[in-house]
Symmetry: C2
Subunit: 337 residues, 2 copies
């Protein structure tokens, strides 16, 4: 017959009727600093308790800011991404924000529709963790007074804030680490999903090696995953002279690479092979791996994000670069000296 009647959420009016006061009184009871007598306040709270009333933040958001922050993210199952989402949600919540999450692909259209949804829900800010939004959409976000923050997306987009890690430093340090260990034949393992961050690490590593007179074999066998790192190792060591010093632009690639090197080719680390990763995922510290890598300072980045969101939108957007911190473990020989 008729659409089964959906029980409505209890509203301030219902509470007011029950308590025998005006709706304004209810509103004031739940507003700090508003003027209500102790008596009515008591009546309102009692009625609210009995009915299970909760202030509708959506309606409140019509007049003021919504306090909603949208997180646009792809590849959520990746350990590093899960950590980032975890840290961000914690810190944002602590700052009184409410998080809306959009799990999207990295292709332009997915990101575009995510961005639009962000606007539909009047989010105060959109934080993009993966994928790259089009310049035009960012523009409409800004036109609507919405802040846009890109994390680890090193794309030259104007108008939005940009938090990222110092990829150049990582590429440089990785090289020095391997050279100090006495490695002769260098390789770099990356993914076919060539994001700006990964490309930057690759570029700097290859460039600085070249300056030092060393060639680098670059290998990419698939997306940023364990399997792809594994495959890259099979290909590299399948040749006559495999590398003895490798920089994997991601820990996940590094772990796959390490497993293949050990189990398929019987190599021992760090004797036959030195390996450097990037990200510092939990798995890299497991007893089977003990990977030397760089940690992303997510906590600091999240703190900075919260600070940004407190500022007015007008504040000029810019880039902020965070220093990765080297984590010394056992996949690289200590200095040959």
């Amino acid at each position: 017959m008729s659409e089964p009647e959906r029980r409505p959420f209890v509203s301030a009016r219902t509470v007011a009727e029950r308590a025998g006061v005006s709706r304004s009184a209810v509103s004031r009871t739940f507003t700090d600093g508003a003027s209500v007598s102790e008596e009515t306040r008591r009546k309102v709270l009692e009625a609210a308790g009995e009915l299970g009333y909760h202030v509708n933040h959506l309606a409140r958001g019509l007049r003021e800011r919504s306090n909603i922050v949208c997180l646009v993210v792809a590849d959520m199952t990746t350990p590093i991404r899960a950590r980032l989402v975890d840290v961000l949600t914690r810190k944002l919540q602590a700052a009184g924000k409410v998080i809306m999450i959009i799990n999207t692909g990295t292709d332009e259209e997915s990101v575009a529709s995510a961005l639009r949804q962000t606007l539909n829900y009047r989010a105060d800010a959109t934080v993009v963790l993966s994928g790259t939004p089009s310049a035009k959409l960012i523009e409409t976000s800004l036109a609507n007074g919405q802040q846009v923050v890109l994390i680890n997306r090193d794309d030259p987009l104007t108008g939005c804030h940009n938090l990222s890690v110092d990829n150049q430093m990582a590429g440089r340090e990785a090289f020095f680490l391997l050279r100090r260990a006495g490695c002769r034949r260098l390789a770099l393992v990356t993914s076919t999903a060539s994001t700006a961050s990964l490309l930057e690490r690759e570029r700097v590593f290859v460039e600085i090696a070249k300056e030092a007179g060393m060639a680098v074999t670059v290998m990419a066998s698939g997306p940023t995953s364990y399997a792809s790192g594994y495959e890259s190792a099979r290909r590299l060591f399948g040749r006559s002279d495999g590398p003895d010093g490798v920089f994997c632009v991601t820990d996940l690639l590094a772990l796959g690479f390490m497993d293949a090197a050990r189990h398929e080719f019987g190599l021992s680390l760090p004797r036959d092979l030195c390996l450097v990763g990037f990200d510092d995922i939990d798995e890299g510290d497991w007893q089977s791996y003990k990977l030397t890598t760089f940690a992303q300072p997510f906590a600091a980045m999240a703190d900075h994000l919260v600070e940004l969101l407190g500022q007015p939108v007008a504040a000029e957007a810019g880039r902020r670069i965070f220093e990765p911190v080297p984590i010394w473990r056992k996949s690289v020989r200590p200095s040959a000296d």
Copy 2:
């Protein structure tokens, strides 16, 4: 001086003025099946495009259902939890829902405040992935016409839907697996965070072993983590007669356990030790582990969840149990026969 003026989101009225039509026309243009002439529709769309207008779903949610689903989750960085969140967000989004995520602790107070926030934002449904809400709060959720769905929380709470995995089957099968492999000295490794699911797996395993005349050493050294599994192995093998068949109630525990067994005690799997896990996290399939385990059928669970949300709230709540699927890898000897 004055609070820096926050540029407002563009509203339907602004679009109407620009297009030279009434606000209703704008509303109708963005409503399927509403009656608008081709001419006005064109004008509206043009003005909307120029201004970057997006319908405010928050305001729309005042009249109808909000389409918001809240995910309450703890320990997001855990691989299994990250996978669950990933699958759920994907499927819910595909069903037209918008996901609000609340990253909380497992203690009662954290969960309570998460639940309250859920109500504040008029979520159509709350999905609890970890932690256990109090019966009283569930009641107020229901009183507000909000659905409550618990995933893998085997607590006896009335009024809410309950999706979970068949833990009894897992405990039983784990035992048979180990017995068939000829194991003599059984142990069970769990965590100190004794959730109902973990307890259930433990209970059944121990019980059925007892029926078969075999004792089981139960060990818990900390939370559900790699480190805690590692520690449990150290304790168990530090004694005179370590176990030769172990069921870890979680893959993460199993991987830590395996690493300690290998690297600290030089054991080889599956010769000296057979190991069964539960969850089927990606890491278990890595070359260093190849863990035999049970996969949680998250896709089916998510599909069922979406189906539930389509039904009216009135539909009587109940429990639905999903069969885990055994994943045979290499940490258990094939049958001794």
